[in-house]
């Protein structure tokens, strides 16, 4: 298997701001790479370098075997880009938007029209095809924008935060569409700040922070890096929390974390549900009233927190 995207030591500076700080990335052909990071981490800058919108200051990148600097023209014929803005023209109809993109990919008049019809069908926009985009919902605009990226059947597809700003229902719809479309063997680089999205869609995840890939692997591998299971327990009073802590101490395989205000205890454990049952038994024996208890695998947010010292979502440092 060859690699569809290869980046080595990419650096991009904006004045004193370092957007990319030696980014290395390899995406094998036909796979989905999730580029996960908070706002301002460099995700969009990376996509812009790969799609020839920006020239890197240092380092090199190849997409579909073509150099982003020296073979930009040829490269653009084999990629599709859908950005976070839904770059569609409000005053054109859905059909006119796609037809225009087809013409600019040089598909020719007849082929452009045919392709526009196909894509409108596929993205469930046939009824809205001849209405100006102005009246489309957020989800419809995103679908149209995504359709625009697929006009020339690109071998490498870039989706920059494809669901940012969508309501939960539209987001789920978008995920279905994306899953469907990569079944055909397209390589996809997807950026997201939503852990759930990367978890669901990506084969491989690269966690990016301050312009660098700080961890890479499948969702499971990343979660394992952070550690195994944890037992989470909530009780009603601080006294019970203290009792619980000492009763469970020997089940812990690492340092316990307790939140005195929420009366919440996190215990790293090994052994699965047997440990959970043992813990409940001990709480019962100590007459501690358990409000909530559960066994939980680390989430990608835990991965994030461990790797970067901050949470992935809810930050806006751009």
């Amino acid at each position: 298997m060859t690699d569809a995207i290869v980046a080595e030591g990419l650096v991009k500076r904006y004045g004193s701001v370092v957007a990319l700080n030696g980014l290395d990335l390899t995406v094998p052909e036909g796979t989905i790479m999730g580029l996960l990071g908070p706002n301002g981490a460099g995700k969009t800058t990376a996509v812009r370098v790969f799609t020839t919108l920006l020239e890197p200051d240092e380092g090199s990148a190849r997409v579909a075997g073509l150099d982003v600097r020296t073979q930009a023209d040829a490269l653009r014929t084999s990629i599709g880009l859908s950005g976070q803005y839904a770059a569609v023209d409000d005053n054109l109809t859905g059909f006119e938007n796609l037809d225009m993109v087809g013409r600019l990919y040089h598909l020719g008049r007849a082929r452009s029209r045919e392709r526009a019809r196909e894509l409108l069908e596929r993205f469930d926009l046939v009824d809205a095809a001849d209405r100006p985009v102005k009246g489309y919902s957020g989800g419809m605009r995103r679908r149209l924008d995504l359709a625009g990226a697929l006009v020339a059947k690109p071998s490498v597809l870039f989706l920059d935060e494809p669901t940012t700003g969508l309501d939960p229902r539209s987001r789920l719809g978008m995920w279905d569409v994306i899953e469907e479309l990569v079944k055909g063997g397209t390589t996809l680089l997807l950026t997201t700040q939503y852990l759930e999205e990367a978890d669901r869609l990506a084969d491989q995840i690269a966690v990016i922070d301050h312009g660098k890939v700080i961890a890479e692997g499948t969702a499971d591998q990343l979660k394992d890096q952070v550690g195994g299971e944890r037992l989470e327990l909530s009780v009603a009073t601080s006294a019970e929390l203290t009792t619980a802590k000492s009763a469970l101490a020997d089940l812990a395989v690492g340092p316990m974390e307790s939140d005195e205000r929420q009366h919440h205890l996190t215990v790293p454990v090994a052994g699965g549900s047997a440990v959970l049952m043992e813990a409940i038994r001990r709480m019962d024996a100590e007459s501690v009233k358990v409000l909530d208890v559960g066994l939980r695998r680390p989430t990608l947010d835990d991965v994030f927190l461990t790797l970067t010292g901050h949470h992935a979502e809810g930050e806006d440092e751009k």
């Binding site: 812009r48 799609t51 020839t52 919108l53 920006l54 023209d73 040829a74 653009r76 014929t77 990629i79 599709g80 880009l81 950005g83 976070q84 803005y85 839904a86 770059a87 569609v88 023209d89 409000d90 005053n91 054109l92 006119e96 225009m100 993109v101 013409r103 600019l104 990919y105 040089h106 100006p132 625009g148």
Partner: protein
């Protein structure tokens, strides 16, 4: 072959912009409403107090109005591009294998078409308030041609600035502050020789004055009773206007292209 492809790409983009004129007719209405208001204000409010030797003020006024109107029309190039940047449409275009020049060529071309429509509306307005063409149809066409050519060259300057500021709001405010003085410190609404000395020099060398006078002469809206100008651009206004067109294109086509290649949404 490459040139043909570039022209084809440019026409696809121009078509896209022209659809907007059709779908949002308010745009054309409002880009002509302001100049029509100017015509009425100048013709009926100020006109009575402005003496132009040998002719009615309205005859004098219209060439100035045409020049101002097409310059404002040319600003659409800048605000349109700034808007396309903020909406991410330029990002999309730049990721496509289309000719690099197509967005700018398409944009300036569609704005030229828009300006042609606007100038027709303004000429009708002029005819209604009493402006007349006293020259041959060919000369009148040449006058329209020079106005449009100048506006086209000016479009490229607006393209550069629009790509530079990247915000349609900022661009609109900036162009307003800029275009008012350059269209007023000129021979557009008053005779430049009546201006105080410093302003008079600026007005005489202002490209807008050359274009206005060229149009005025070609429409036959001048009178032998007016003092002959003593600076070169106003003695040869047609030549000077064409010179300005060439200078503007030579400076701003490369600058706009350079800026386009590095334009990305924030």
């Amino acid at each position: 072959m490459k040139l043909l492809q570039a022209l084809a790409d440019g026409s696809v983009v121009a078509k896209r912009n022209l659809i907007k004129i059709k779908r949002v007719p308010d745009l054309l209405v409002f880009s002509t409403a302001a100049p029509i208001m100017f015509v009425l204000l100048f013709a009926y409010v100020f006109g009575g107090s402005i003496e132009i030797p040998g002719m009615d003020y309205r005859e004098f006024l219209m060439a100035g109005i045409f020049a101002q109107t097409v310059l404002f029309g040319a600003t659409i190039t800048g605000s349109g591009l700034a808007e396309d940047i903020t909406k991410g449409i330029i990002d999309r275009f730049r990721s496509l294998p289309m000719a690099r020049s197509a967005v700018l060529v398409g944009r300036t071309t569609s704005d030229l078409v828009n300006n042609a429509l606007v100038i027709v509306i303004m000429m009708i307005t002029g005819l209604i308030v009493g402006w007349r063409i006293h020259s041959s149809p060919l000369e009148a066409l040449a006058a329209v041609g020079i106005l449009l050519l100048f506006a086209y060259a000016f479009s490229w300057a607006m393209a550069w600035i629009g790509l530079l500021v990247r915000s349609p709001e900022v661009f609109n405010n900036a162009s307003f502050i800029f275009i008012f003085p350059i269209t007023y410190i000129a021979n557009t609404f008053v005779q430049s020789e009546k201006l105080p000395s410093v302003l008079r020099h600026i007005a005489e060398w202002n490209p807008v004055s050359a274009v206005t006078l060229a149009a005025r002469e070609l429409f036959g809206n001048t009178s032998p009773l007016q003092t002959p100008p003593d600076v070169w651009p106003l003695q040869h206004p047609v030549l000077a206007s064409l010179g300005w067109v060439v200078i503007f294109l030579l400076i701003f086509v490369p600058l706009a292209n350079y800026q386009y290649k590095r334009a990305v949404a924030r």
